[in-house]
Symmetry: C2
Subunit: 346 residues, 2 copies
Amino acid sequence: MVTIRDVAAMSGASIKTVSRVLNNEPNVRPEMRERVLQAAHKLNYHPNMAARSLAGRQSYMIGLFYENPSPNYVVNIQTGALDRLRGEPYRLLMFPVENFKEFHGKMIAIIRSSGLAGVILTPPLSNDPEIMDELDQSGVPYVRVAGTEPRPGSPCVAIKDMIAAREMTRYLLGLGHRRIAFLRGNPVHPASNARFEGYCYALQSAGIPIDPDLVIAGDFRFASGLEAARKIFALNPRPTAVFSSNDDMAAGIVQAAHEHGIAVPRQLSVVGFDDSQLASIVWPRITTMRQPISAMAYTATDIILNLLENGWNTEEIRNVELDHALIIRDSAGPPFLANVAEKEDA
Amino acid sequence: MVTIRDVAAMSGASIKTVSRVLNNEPNVRPEMRERVLQAAHKLNYHPNMAARSLAGRQSYMIGLFYENPSPNYVVNIQTGALDRLRGEPYRLLMFPVENFKEFHGKMIAIIRSSGLAGVILTPPLSNDPEIMDELDQSGVPYVRVAGTEPRPGSPCVAIKDMIAAREMTRYLLGLGHRRIAFLRGNPVHPASNARFEGYCYALQSAGIPIDPDLVIAGDFRFASGLEAARKIFALNPRPTAVFSSNDDMAAGIVQAAHEHGIAVPRQLSVVGFDDSQLASIVWPRITTMRQPISAMAYTATDIILNLLENGWNTEEIRNVELDHALIIRDSAGPPFLANVAEKEDA
DNA sequence: CTGTTAGCGCTTTCAA
DNA sequence: TTGAAAGCGCTAACAG
């Protein structure tokens, strides 16, 4: 095992100087720096993270905590974080949390024993006050993705869920729909509520009362879209459009529509949220609201890094809101054909 | 920061004894053990991984290396590995590799600097001789997922790709298909070739010559399925079935079929491979060959852990082959209706 | 600009 | 069955 001492010996510098070079610290003659670098290269030297962490009382591990969201979501988050980490000495450690209720009280132990330098929290963990309390107590910087509750000392990266959902609802309204069903997400994810608010807001602004029969419970998963579809199809008169809180459930509705011989969008418009891979894979391709999940994770990671490296303090970092975008595809259209066609068919 | 010294002080033992208790080493009086455990608990003590790694000259990090497969694949692999790691002191570090050709020569550096205890390789990395050479050189145990080339000293977890593909082809044959197109995967993934072999084998056994026009290149991605569909639809006479090397591409073919008004499976049967989430989300749901990806990663991780903990040597571990399973859904059926209907339609 | 010294928190000798 | 001492490879503090 080649250590900093070997590099020092070969380059004729002290270990401290080698350390300076390796950490890009100032106060080293360029010539000396060069010599050290060459020795390190020749010896195929690589610093030992464990020793570095121990001596420097800091680690180079960022923990990504998540609880069972859709696979696409995790991958996108992970990709964004990893993209930001590329070229940095930091590494990404995955912490899947089975049940965040049972997770309470364990955060500090994990941080301590894994020596995490920073933490990224995804929903629903990003809105769990107990977990955040523990994090505050631990002192490691943490950034929340898609958190909604503002919290002093804890930056958060999100999109404007309410506004985005309102926009989507208005799009449907603009198409001429009046009976629009809404498929809610898992209520422990606050984004789910924000999206519902946006839906309500848009309807009310248009003078359309919220019909409770048109608001269906769901949990963000494909299967719950399938289930919801059954309820929606049984409604009389049937809504002409469904706004699903995410794409997975929207895909479920589309599949169920195929099975029931209901043409999308001719007889039923379906729109989703996220613009996940799914949305463009099912047929018809789903009109959806793009949420820049990877970019959110990238930004969250960037904030962590700045907190760590540049000594930003959390006070100066306000929440960051990224842009959403309406992606128009093939699953939504005007309603008028739908009802007519339906009655003729029957 | 509470250290082993604090626990020693409180329990009245030496730090060595505390260390013994914490590591479940023998030669500690039960009574003493109890006292130490209580002190540790009372102080909310958690061992520092960095110190442990440094002093013990070993680490508790398992690196998962992957290059750009489909999101579902990564998630499944990750889930399997994480499941096995639950309750163990080991952590999973993610190493996305952009381009495995450029990756050559970097493996040792990464292992050294991150202090990896073990490595899990997924395709196509699991079949790259240069990477495996570096790994051999580094001395850390590594297990390959879905590798095909046998390699002494390196265990591998896989399924019988060739056999599975042969089975699927025979299923199609059994349905009555004679013109069966095959959509290849990315050729750098050896599983891709094994599946093609299985297809050829089955056809030849049935006395059907391989028609090169029916073998289409693909790269495992949805978009390549879309492209391939165009070529397949242009064939005259059109094949009555398509066997796609994975579900992503099969989903592409299904989508294209919808766009071209080709009914699946009535006019064209489509089957995939993997049984990824996609297969049951698109409509019609895709008949596919289930590959237990999570289980493979679980097993790979299990092997690594045994190598590490129980001092297994790689000689005694042969390759492990897990079972595949044909999952019959709605995208494949008998061919006879197809051609008839087509001609009548025209 | 450079080097010396003293740890970081733990495990590993090896002696009691 | 237990403990004292000596590091693991690196960085921090301070002295040159």
